[in-house]
Amino acid sequence: MITASFITDPNFRSVLYIVSFALFIYGLSGLTGPKTAVQGNRIAAVGMGFAVVATLLVPDVSNIVLIILGVAIGTAIGVPAARQVKMTQMPQMVALFNGVGGGAVALIAWVEFRESGGFADVPTYVAIFSCFAAIVGSVSFWGSNIAFGKLQELIDGGSKVIGSAQIQSFINMALGAIAVACGIAIVAGSHGEILILVLLVSAALLGVFLVLPIGGADMPVVISLLNAFTGLSAAATGVALDNTSLIVAGMIVGASGTLLTQQMATAMNRSITSVIAGGFGGTVEAAAGATSASGGTVRSTSAADVAIQMAYARLVVVVPGYGMAVSQAQHAVREMAKLLEAKGVEVKYAIHPVAGRMPGHMNVLLAEADVPYEQLKEMDDINGEFPRVDVSLVIGANDVTNPDARNKADSPIYGMPILNVDESASVIVLKRSMSSGYAGIDNPLFVNPKTSMLFGDAKQSVSDITEELKVL
């Protein structure tokens, strides 16, 4: 009996919560360095174990069957999904996991509302934090699902708005206002369930409409922002439920997620507000029209020529982009690089911070193909080297190499830091067709006299080059 009362003592639970969030913070700080990251992630997972066990240590356990049922369903869905997802589909998986977290927050707030008779018999602050959690959780759930749909190509990835960008932002503001108004009414003492339902639905629509117009290079920023949102809503749930572990873990994610979002946005020379305001949508057509009119000649080349050019180079820089991810070309690239290195060619990889669909997307793929960590160069480190690069091999990257970002003030991506591949002696671009990149604008790099294009699927092209290298 003594032990039983000891472990169900609220103070013991609090101590376990302190252990759990100490492990979260320690684990998270491990995640910031390549050597400690694996361990850091596992430490955070152990912290989560402590938090769950602590929560179950109450004197009178109710509904244990339902809890086990929920955890079992979640595990049965989550584990295979995480095990089987391909590395190329990682971004949408993160979006999906983030979404269900937001969904859980919204559902919990809804149940709290129902159980307390519309927050009638709880302190006002509980109602405030719960309404905040409900709105943000619902936005995050639906926004993440749309992000998933777009990246998985279930929904057209391009920019979509109702009417025009102005009408869309008016609709969004109206939806936001409705959700907040419902929240205020609830806090002020209205208890009708219709209020929380309207709040959840208008926040859901807001989430859908916020992400639907965002096409393109902005997607990583959006996923990161929604991640931060879910963290904040979890923290709000923690305040409403008086649960320290929830507050700390949620708020750490909210703060770090916001910082990460800012870093990504800065890397693209965009503000978070302009990302949310509708992406490149408004300017795409004008820009595309103008550049097409100016024209230019595209030089197409063959795999054999590319192989010869690279085999006799001293320094080759590979610039991977989303195209490499889509065609799963990373292993073929690694094989090609090995052959080049055997011929005495130095090979480096130039990684733009927002290449692919998430920061670090390219690093993950190349690491999967066993590319040595030291060969992966960040933008600032490699940009000074391009003048002495013999061949830049651009594999399915587009916007991150677009010189318009430096030179053309009216370009939608003007000011975004890019990889200066046009400074190297020659550029080879592997691309499926002449279609524009995710930002939907033309790239003058392709008509640069130094540039030759090798059209086709990236993996096929790289394999062809490798075959040619073998017979050289």
Binding site: M48, A104, A234
Partner: protein, 105 residues
């Protein structure tokens, strides 16, 4: 209680900000994925309401079971996916073996 919790909230915000401020771009995706797993802690919210018997009625319990399932997907899936990403950053011994003859040549 509220004031204490607000203090914790503010301090945790600064901790999150400080811990993350220096991260190489390489680790941005795993970091996003790792923080994503941590906010799966919302699963506790569902468990707290269920285990303390704070929910009555079929609909409320159903919603909470869904919430716990969602939270579990977030936690379990999030940590596993992060682990898989990070496994690939580990140096593999065979690379070193291969690198040597190339260096001599």
């Amino acid at each position: 209680m509220l004031v204490t919790n607000l203090a914790i909230l503010v301090l945790a915000g600064f901790v999150g900000y400080a811990v993350i401020s220096k991260v190489p771009n390489t680790l941005h995706t795993p970091l996003m994925s790792g923080t994503n797993a941590i906010h799966g802690i919302v699963v506790l919210g569902g468990i707290v309401l269920l285990v303390n018997g704070l929910a009555d009625g079929f609909l409320n319990k159903l919603l909470l079971v869904i919430a716990v399932a969602f939270g579990t997907i977030n936690v379990v899936g999030g940590f596993l996916v992060t682990d898989r990403m990070l496994e690939m950053f580990k140096a593999k011994p065979k690379d070193l073996v291969e690198a040597e003859p190339e260096a001599k040549a």
